[in-house]
Symmetry: C2
Subunit: 232 residues, 2 copies
Amino acid sequence: MSQASDRVYTALRAGILDGRYGFGDRLGEIEVAADLGTSRTPVREALRRLGSEGLVEVLPNRGARVRTWTAQDLEETYELRAVLEGLGARRAAGQVTAEVVDELAALAAEMVTVDPSLGHRPPGDFADLAALNARFHAVIVGAAGSDRLAATLAGLVQLPLVMRTYHRYTPAALARSHAHHHEIVDALRAGDGAWAESVMRSHVLAARAVLLASHRDGATGTAATDPEGQAS
Amino acid sequence: MSQASDRVYTALRAGILDGRYGFGDRLGEIEVAADLGTSRTPVREALRRLGSEGLVEVLPNRGARVRTWTAQDLEETYELRAVLEGLGARRAAGQVTAEVVDELAALAAEMVTVDPSLGHRPPGDFADLAALNARFHAVIVGAAGSDRLAATLAGLVQLPLVMRTYHRYTPAALARSHAHHHEIVDALRAGDGAWAESVMRSHVLAARAVLLASHRDGATGTAATDPEGQAS
DNA sequence: GCGACCTAGATTGCATGCAATCCAGCCCGC
DNA sequence: GCGGGCTGGATTGCATGCAATCTAGGTCGC
């Protein structure tokens, strides 16, 4: 992490995710290097890395730009996540420990207590909810015990982060999301892989529906001033 | 492709897949650069790229080495492929054209005619079979029409290539593989997504069983002198 | 007036020099 | 004899110079 290359990667990634760099913005090597006080070499490496993760597109001899997302990109990504997170939940159900289930139950419960739509936070303040949700999903993927699955998913979760997903949820959709979380915990505690997989798939596909609906309503998803707020 | 970085990437990838570089071999930047007649910069880029695809592991300040595969790596990778290629088959069933189905049928038929175990090729000559099989799967993924799925799978198919999979198939397993191919074609022609998905999953999981069995029998999978021969 | 060509500036891609880090072997002390 | 520390060699990581490529603007011809 003291490596310059990693610093540049982290900085660029954060800049894209919180909207400092908007969709389609050019990322010139010289410009970025100057901004971050380093040389072009680590910047090149970071850009290639971000390119392989799908956050930026690099054109030969023409530099890199922040990738723009179409409705189809959203749909494909969430379809993949539904399948892969479903697989993760199924695997987790077969080997998760009681301690981890308890942790997940605590996370699910806490998410309800920080839901702005339920009056526990100022309206629009989804920061805590998003963080807890991310952790909830991360714990399940971890409990699946497949490094390969975790790595594959890591390359897909990037996209939702820039969309400030939670801001698009209606209170009803949020309530459904909470219900899903609790149901997933129950399925895992029961050791029922098929159940856990099924609920997880529903959970992700429901998130996809929310995003697609809001996408159709003209919200282009240009990440604005708000760093957090991704869901599912 | 005239780009030096791409040339190095292709050369290294080929070298790993056909066993010129064995599992665990060190890939020094200077050494590789000298071998390929270029400088260290494009070599570095190629190594990072191969690292993100899982073919080599790069350790900070310690260089890159060809990744070694455990039984668990095999299992996880094939589990992911089963799910993802199943998804691809399901999507393809809903939108594939008659022309593409005909092409797949032709590929499936031709695979039978080049099967060494059926006496149509010298024993052990799986080159044509492997090439046709790769094309068969690629056509289906293409027919699924999801760039994101194709990209995700591309990062997973790397592994089987080094294992010379087909050499481990028994004649009975090969016959089953052919039967799967024909059944997938039938399911696609019928537009039956659930059927196509199910058969494709069986197909990949059967391949996993072959690999795992042969892995247990002490075959470490160190790709030897034979460039081709991957299956499913 | 419009379009193709050409040139200039800028940017990426590659090569190479230098500093930081790591590993192996050796030496010294116990 | 054995273990810890240290030093030398080698290798990676970063910085920077140079060549190749691309884009933009203008100019010339029609």
